[in-house]
């Protein structure tokens, strides 16, 4: 039995291991200073980089955070503080359903909601699509963490004559903060690599863009575009982009793990 379970565990780990090895092996050689500092070159030309796509991904993640974090955190807090309310039950179910919605449908949603009325693609639309995807993840982790806050902490605050809403905002949420931040970062890491919701929202851009109302580049989009191109140098850069993206996600996850372990220690 132990042999079988051990073998299955190795089978689970193997793909991850091979992906990482392959990614580092092929991507590493294409990573250079230019890759991080230069704009994409003209089609077929050797050289150039993905600096605008890296910045674009950061911009999109920030926008997604602005949309998803407040709704997710406050919604999750509500679920934890009023677990039996009818609204909570409905919301919890809705969040689980939302988690299962294909990401391209989220893109479609943002396309109809923002791109069509504005008549052009924009970073805003991409950010909203990712932000909506962020909500269920942040909401459910917040709920779990806020529920872990000992009842005695709430009682201490209420017994001091602090109103319920202030107890929640000023005592309960800060007590759960480290865990909530972890949930947010895991959520952000997940959406950082999403490609489908960006295809017809953020759209991609070969140049610098900091205007949220204009189309923007993003790492996943750039990787997609370069990977299906006929040029060897672009293939190389697509691998480098993939390695960069995975590194960003990995780093965020490590920071989140660290924050979570600090939370446990402080208890």
């Amino acid at each position: 039995m132990a042999v079988i379970t051990c073998g299955c565990t190795l089978l689970v780990l193997a793909p991850l291991f091979f992906v990482l090895v392959f990614l580092v092996g092929t991507g590493w050689s294409a990573l250079n200073w230019d890759f991080f500092t230069r704009l994409p070159g003209a089609a077929g030309e050797t050289g150039g980089g993905m600096t605008n796509a890296i910045a674009g991904t950061l911009l999109l993640i920030s926008l997604a955070g602005v949309v998803g974090i407040p709704i997710g955190v406050l919604g999750g807090t509500f679920l934890a503080e009023y677990p039996a309310a009818r609204l909570s039950q409905v919301t919890r179910f809705a969040a689980d359903v939302m988690n299962g919605i294909p990401s391209i449908v989220m893109g479609l949603f943002a396309y109809v909601l923002i791109v069509l009325p504005m008549r052009h693609f924009s970073a805003l639309a991409g950010g909203v699509a990712l932000g909506v995807m962020l909500i269920p993840t942040v909401m459910r982790t917040t709920e779990e963490i806020v529920r872990l806050v000992p009842h005695s902490v709430r009682e201490a605050s209420l017994a001091l004559g602090i109103p319920q809403w202030k107890t929640t905002l000023r005592v309960v949420i800060p007590t759960a903060a480290a865990g909530i931040v972890t949930g947010i970062m895991v959520g952000l890491a997940r959406i950082a690599g999403e490609t489908a919701p960006l295809l017809f929202t953020a759209f991609g851009n070969r140049f610098w863009n900091w205007n949220v109302l204009r189309p923007t580049a993003a790492l996943p989009l750039q990787i997609f575009a370069y990977a299906i191109s006929p040029f060897d140098d672009w293939h190389r850069q697509a691998w480098a982009g993939a390695l960069t993206l995975v590194s960003i996600v990995l780093m965020v996850n490590i920071v989140a793990r660290y924050a979570a372990s600090r939370q446990v220690k402080s208890r």
């Binding site: 039996a84 000992p150 005695s152 902490v153 009682e155 201490a156 605050s157 209420l158 017994a159 001091l160 004559g161 602090i162 109103p163 202030k166 107890t167 000023r170 005592v171 800060p174 007590t175 903060a177 402080s266 208890r267």
Partner: protein, 268 residues
């Protein structure tokens, strides 16, 4: 002179004092469980009143009815009246938040706010309510910590987390936190049951000291503690007030058979 009958003397002992809280026919429920069955008693001002009784007799529930904490439990209900200054705190329109400002509470297990420093913990009642300037806060924090007999131990590390203190110190920190909002009454729900004997003794001394200025109601399952610390003792059994009077009388000349059985250790 002929000695007055016991019952009459006891009533007189209570009448001699100003009333802090008057409970009248207080009933309490948890869903269908009838936990308190009509408690009527007068809690004298600036005295220590102990509430004793076996586990599950409703003593903690009674305490939580005095600052409207009972109703926070889902499915919990209260009837009857709890008068302070002649006004029922259960009158519609009375804000439970205001009641809890006047009637502070210390819990069985020390529960300092885990994210706050020692200073912030003591000041929390004021800062979270948006009150107190920097300077008055400093003063109130020092006063409260002194009143809770903790100042000398923590004055050099006010910026350390409240949870870095020992259990006994944490409980005194919680007392300081309750005192900082200057309540008229302090409810103590088995405040020493999670502490070692030395810390227990300090909490008891503290309760006696505090009673010079405020009214203390202390719930305990420890009869020696009630005898050491209180002026008056109420004995609760199965949600009913069996006997109530000066502590000394209740322990030496119990009027009720059930009280005698309990204090002599025949059950409970």
């Amino acid at each position: 002179m002929m000695e007055r009958p016991v019952v009459e003397r006891r009533a007189a002992a209570l009448i001699d004092h100003t009333t802090a809280i008057q409970a009248e026919n207080v009933h309490a429920w948890f869903d269908r469980l009838h936990a308190l069955r009509g408690i009527t008693m007068t809690i004298p001002e600036r005295k220590v009143t102990a509430v004793i009784g076996p586990s599950g007799c409703g003593k903690s529930t009674f305490l939580r009815c005095l600052n409207r904490m009972h109703e926070l439990v889902p499915g919990a209900r209260v009837s009857g009246a709890v008068l302070m200054d002649g006004r029922d705190i259960y009158t519609p329109g009375v804000d439970p938040v205001q009641v809890r400002r006047r009637v502070g509470m210390v819990f069985q297990k020390p529960n300092p706010f885990p994210t706050m420093t020692i200073y912030e913990n003591v000041a929390a009642g004021l800062t979270l309510a948006g009150e107190g300037s920097r300077k008055t806060l400093d003063e109130i924090v020092e006063q409260s910590l002194r009143a809770a007999a903790l100042w000398d131990e923590v004055k050099d590390r006010l910026r350390k987390p409240g949870t870095s203190l020992s259990g006994g110190q944490q409980q005194r920190l919680c007392i300081a936190r309750a005192l900082a909002v200057s309540p008229e009454v302090l409810l103590m729900d088995e405040p020493a049951s999670a502490l070692d004997p030395a810390s227990t003794l300090r909490i008891e001394e503290l309760a006696r000291d505090l009673a010079k200025d405020i009214t203390i109601v202390i719930v305990t399952h420890n009869m020696q503690q009630a005898a050491r610390v209180s002026d008056f003792t109420a004995f609760l059994l199965d949600g009913e007030l069996v006997e109530y009077g000066p502590t000394n009388d209740l322990f030496t000349k119990p009027r009720e058979r059930r009280t005698e059985d309990y204090i002599t250790g025949r059950f409970g």
